[in-house]
């Protein structure tokens, strides 16, 4: 553990597209530039806003607000349904640009990624990273479109690079080093730091830490033994000083999907059809990562804002849509009435290996063959080319949207 600030050359660059989906729409539709735009997942007045353009944000429109609420504030707000294919294209273009500088690129989500310049070619390393940052901004404009803007942050570790990227939105470029670390921290609030939300802020407040500077000055034993009560405290101590503690893979542990029902008057059977559709989608996600699952978790939110959930661990791993749905369906028998939202998640995922002999080997092999053939056909001819007859007609409602957290399925 190091007590000093990391005074090495900053070689981590964080790139963050500004209000990504709204910016992409403004790029695609020139008539929307300069106007307040909101992206939603469904064409209704009650749907939540997923992304708002800077113009909309400046007028008070926030994420999670319903379109109806937002229109009260900004009557001229243009609400557009999200267009995942467009965002995926921009994501891949952005990734191609980043990968042209280093093989060590990690996409953190659909609109942000990190370039690690530690092991890149000498030619690239010899250049000032600020120049490369400016070049990437220009390339985004040249290769995607003139309205594209991004924030660039450069630092010695991923955490500070992300912090730097959030300093001057939109279109900023900032470098954080051991020289300006304290100055920058003095301008921020605890909640500005990635990873510090309500609960962590309360934990820090409980020991008299109210600012990032006080957080930075806290000794490791306070953070480890009193505030976080685990190794997390030491990690924060290192992270804040510019030492890398976040460069580690995050193995896939769960895969799930949820859906807000399109109508209040769906029958139980119709809700189960939608649950089945979600199970097919979750099954495809699990198999696409070469995984099998051991557990299924289902939840439902009712219209009176109550939350119900149930889970079950199976004795043997499973992977097929039928197996997932059979368990989810059984669990769902105890779900409440007047449901507004449903979700299903597979957990305890592990690598799909044939090593373990099973009494039902032949049956499993057959099931696996069927599932992989269906996945192959769906991948070649389009999603849901083959699906259960039970889910026929649900596809127009339960549409695939953008996965915000993970980039695994892009």
């Amino acid at each position: 553990m190091r007590n000093t600030y990391n005074d090495g050359r900053p070689l981590i660059m964080h790139i963050d597209l500004n209000s990504c989906f709204a910016t992409v729409e403004q790029q695609a539709r020139p008539m929307l530039r300069g106007r307040p735009v909101a992206i939603v997942n469904r064409r209704t007045e009650h749907t939540m806003i997923v992304t708002a353009s800077y113009e909309a944000k400046a007028l008070g429109v926030g994420l999670g607000m319903s379109v109806k609420e937002a229109r009260r504030l900004v009557p001229e707000l243009v609400a557009l349904e999200s267009d995942p294919a467009k965002y995926r294209y921009v994501y891949h273009k952005m990734m191609d640009i980043m990968r042209s500088y280093s093989a060590h690129v990690t996409m953190k989500s659909i609109d942000e990624g990190v370039i690690d310049f530690h092991q890149t070619s000498q030619d690239v390393r010899d250049r000032p990273l600020e120049d490369i940052g400016r070049e990437i901004k220009q390339r985004l404009r040249d290769e995607i479109g003139v309205a594209m803007r991004c924030n660039v942050g450069i630092a010695t570790n991923r955490f500070l690079a992300k912090t730097a990227a959030s300093l001057h939105k939109p279109d900023g470029l900032d470098v954080m080093t051991h020289d300006n670390l304290r100055d920058v921290m003095s301008t921020l609030e605890l909640r500005d730091l990635t990873g510090i939300a309500k609960h962590n802020e309360a934990r820090l407040n409980s020991v008299g830490i109210y600012t990032p500077l006080e957080f930075l000055d806290a000794d490791v034993s306070t953070l480890q033994d009193v505030v976080f009560k685990s190794i997390v405290g030491e990690q924060w101590h290192q992270r804040l000083r510019g030492w890398e503690v976040d460069d580690r893979p995050h193995p896939l542990k769960t895969a799930g999907r949820q859906y807000v029902l399109e109508s209040k008057i769906l029958s139980r059977e119709e809700i189960l059809q939608r649950l089945h559709n979600l199970c097919e989608s979750v099954g495809a996600k699990v198999r696409s990562q070469g995984k099998v699952a051991r557990g299924v978790f289902v939840y439902a939110k009712s219209r009176d804002r109550r939350y119900w959930h149930a889970r079950r661990m199976a004795s043997a791993p499973f992977f097929s849509d039928q197996a997932i749905y059979a368990q989810a369906c059984q669990l769902f028998e105890k779900a409440p009435q007047a449901i507004k939202e449903i979700g299903v998640t597979c957990y305890e995922l592990s690598d799909d290996s044939d090593d373990q002999l099973s009494l039902f080997g032949d049956q499993l092999a057959q099931e696996k063959h069927t599932a992989s053939t269906i996945d192959e056909i769906n991948s070649r001819y389009g999603d849901r080319t083959i699906h259960s007859a039970d889910t026929l007609g649900t596809g127009i409602y339960v549409k695939q949207k953008i996965p915000f957290g993970s980039t695994r399925y892009l």
């Binding site: 790029q27 020139p30 008539m31 467009k86 389009g382």
Partner: protein, 88 residues
Amino acid sequence: MNDEILLNERVQVIAVFGEGLNPCRPLKFRRPNGREVEITEIGLRHPSTKGKRTVHMFDVTDGGADYRLEFDSERLTWHLTMEADHYE
């Protein structure tokens, strides 16, 4: 939500196939009603799939409205699939 109209009109297009990052550039299209639209800017071009066919989506404008043109790379056909004209 807004004045977006979804269409499926087969259109005639004049396009240039040249060099650079965006080698295909539609310049002008004629709608079935005879109306001609001069494209002043291509906002974004992205590929998508319809089954196994690759379709190129061109989001374009003539300065007064936004349009989406779809070029089917297998059938070599152009369709106008969206017009948004405008949002007030």
